[in-house]
């Protein structure tokens, strides 16, 4: 199993028709919510797509010309906001899908942003850091007309993007001739990065998991729900520690090398600390059994949270899942067909757009703190994650009950209704 998608903040995309596929489920939501076609039509295509040519001097002195894009999907709720993807194979339609996705995600989480996505066709493993830096800087300089704290805000796509975010902040600041750190989120702390930037997704998952377990009355008889977490990195590892501290029993956890399981619970703090020192879960010894990552997903537990890869649960293994609830800690962790099957079996699925909301909410907090020039304490950030993700959870649950639809459909309905409502109130300019 390949865990390369760990901590990517963007969903898996359909290779052939990413935008159309992404939109399909929201089209369905718009229909269910009886949104008039006119109110929804604007959302069927991005507001703007800017393509820029990015000439960059390579280390041998020759010039290469890269392609770069920024897609701005919808500005109904506020400034555009979304990731920058550095990828040699990226296509414009991928970015349309990501930008649209960000519109829905922001709306669902009550964050006053519209969706955007940027892409630069570069293989970061194939060029020197200096070339990567020049390419990113030139890309940002070319986009300067359409970005800014009140216009379009960049977020990282992967955990290792901190340096890239710093370059973006510096390039915009040099052009503005004053420090403009609110133009990008996910910055290093010293440049205005927020507290809980690193475990934002895990904190959001914690809020959702806690409320979902309470609602389903899971784990009452044993003093706390049991959970299996696939992934031990930024999302899975942090989540395991956090839930452990909330008196959940982490009964199973895995990394690329394999998993461990003990139905009475594992001391994950100890386990993860040792893993941090000396490698992999497969090498750990303790009061648990070793098993493959695939087998771990099929062990008994109250809640299963796959945080590592897309399609962790598919038609191949869905019928053997013994968990009472599945929370998508990774984007598209449950395939579309498996999703239907779990519903038939009466197993609740908390969808990625809601479960992974923590990173979006905390990126928004970073923007707020940068704008006022005042950094919040850890406790303030945690309290506010609880509020934003919790509110999103409540509105999804209430929508699901009212309309008798699964949580995923309910989440999409909440998002579409908010965006279409804002667009409608603003009306058409010119």
């Amino acid at each position: 199993m390949e865990f390369s998608q760990v901590s990517s903040t963007t969903p898996q995309l359909d290779a052939e028709h990413p935008f159309a596929t992404m939109m399909a489920s929201f089209d369905e939501a718009a229909r269910l919510a009886s949104i008039a076609p006119d109110e929804y039509r604007i959302l069927r295509q991005p507001d703007r797509e800017l393509t820029v040519s990015v000439p960059v001097t390579l280390d041998d002195g020759s010039v290469d010309v890269l392609e770069g894009w920024r897609v701005q999907h919808n500005a109904g709720l506020g400034p555009y906001f979304g990731p920058l993807r550095l990828d040699p194979d990226i296509k414009l339609d991928d970015l349309r899908a990501l930008a649209g996705w960000m519109t829905w995600k922001c709306a669902l989480l009550g964050v006053p942003f519209g969706g955007a996505a940027g892409g630069l066709r570069i293989d970061r493993d194939d060029v020197s850091p200096a070339v990567l830096e020049r390419a990113v800087r030139r890309y940002i300089a070319n986009l300067h007309d359409v970005i800014g704290p009140d216009r379009d805000v960049f977020t990282p796509e992967k955990a290792r993007d901190e340096r890239v975010m710093a370059w973006i902040m510096d390039t915009v600041s040099m052009h503005q001739r004053h420090t403009t750190n609110a133009v990008v989120a996910g910055k290093p702390a010293v440049l205005g990065g927020t507290r809980h930037g690193h475990d934002a997704t895990a904190q959001g998952l914690r809020v959702v998991a806690t409320r979902a377990a309470e609602r389903a009355k899971l784990g009452h008889e044993r003093g706390g729900p049991s959970v299996i977490i696939q992934g031990a990195g930024l999302v899975g590892g942090n989540l395991a520690r956090i839930l452990h501290d909330c008196d959940w029993r982490v009964v199973g956890i895995s990394d690329v090398t394999g998993g461990v399981y003990n139905e009475n619970g594992i001391d994950v703090r100890h386990l993860l600390a040792r893993r941090g020192h000396s490698g992999t879960i497969a090498q750990m010894h303790g009061d648990f059994e070793h098993l493959s990552d695939a087998d771990l997903l099929l062990r008994p537990c109250d809640v299963l949270i796959p945080c590592a890869v897309a399609n962790a649960i598919t038609t191949r293994n869905v019928d053997a899942v013994l968990a009472k609830m599945v929370i998508e800690g990774a984007h598209s962790a449950v395939s579309a067909v498996a999703d239907r099957r779990l519903r038939e079996r009466g197993i609740t699925v908390v969808p990625d757009i809601l479960a992974r909301g923590g990173d979006t909410v905390v990126a928004y907090f970073e923007w707020v703190q940068n704008r006022m020039g005042y950094a919040w304490l850890e406790g303030d950030v945690l309290k506010r994650i609880e509020r934003f993700v919790g509110d999103a959870w409540e509105s999804v649950v209430s929508q699901a009950q009212t309309r008798n639809v699964p949580l995923r459909t309910a989440a999409h309905i909440v998002a579409v209704t908010r965006v279409a409502g804002a667009d409608c109130l603003r009306g058409l300019y010119a």
Partner: protein, 425 residues
Amino acid sequence: MSTAPHVKAPMDEFNPFQAMAQRFDVAADRLGLDEGLREVLRTPDKELTVSIPITMDNGKLKVFTGYRVQHNFSRGPCKGGIRYAPDVHLDEVRALAAWMTWKCSVVDVPFGGGKGGVICDPRQLSKGELERITRRYTTGIMDLLGPDRDVPAPDVNTNEQTMAWLMDTWSMHVRRTDTAIVTGKPLALGGSKGRTEATGRGVMIVTREALKKLGLRPENARVVVQGSGNVGGIGAMLLAREGMKVVSISDIYGAIHNDKGLDVPDVLAYLKQHKKLEGYSKAEHIPSAAQLELDCDVLVPAATENQLTSKNAERIKAKLVVEGANGPTTVLADQILERRGVMVVPDILANAGGVTVSYFEWVQDRAGYFWTEEVVNSRLEHVITSSFASVEETARKYNTSLRIGAYILAVGRVATVYQMRGTYA
């Protein structure tokens, strides 16, 4: 004639953009440009796609798509038209933007190339709908526009009125009247005198200069003009005023011919009244295709692209072809005409009078001071004659056609500026 390497025939003889790209490659070869620089010059700097939601007259919402492409602004703000048509395509907009870069460079006006378009069918739209599309499109691309950044102009299915709306939308957003944002405006809103006839006047000037090179006196030159609109009609009138004998003019339905010379003002007056040449009694009527092969000294294709092709180039009798339209001669026809010793004044030089006076409009708007028609015309005269001389000199230096000479001059100027400025960041 020349020993210049021939442009390789494009895959599709009738694709004028492929033809332009290949002429660019030949010029780049002759200039010895390295691959990185070529890639920079081939690739548009920026391309913006905007969604244009409009309330239609029936109250329904409709979403149109618009583009603005900025090909290269090394030499100055981008300059280029905005077209409204159902078949607007990003690829075409890209190619037209590049075309503008070379055109501005040939006549040495300090602009780079740009182009824009909205996919719509203006015949199906009310004036109010067109205005709303124009205003919303302008708002969408506004971040890229500006008198010092990108200055649009009219193109297919857009006109003075469209430019006035664009100027007003921009001015409302910047909260001051800013006429230099767009050219091709009505005279009352900062337009330039002499703009309407500028392209035709440029055609006349290069024809006169080319005849000098060929050693032909204007009064002995018999001219065939394909087209009778802004370029062909006005061009024909100005050529006649220079003493040349205009023996044939055409519209989209057919052509008229009189070997003793047409009374051009009379023809244009008839056309204005009747909307077509049909029924004009003081000339014989001939089919369009036959017009190009008439016995004459000068042929001015001023209508549309792909008129002189591998199919008819052998039968062209003119000694001089002046391209009033964009891309009327295919690459294959170029080769045949060159072998037969026919001089071709290429489009990027021959019809650059329009962009030159657009540049003058921008200068006047910036200055807030407007020139007399005589000043506009004499400055246009200066720009076009000196550009013709530079192109001719370049062609001689590189022992090639005027067309390739014009591309070498244009591409070389942009490349030099790019290298001096260097690659930012």
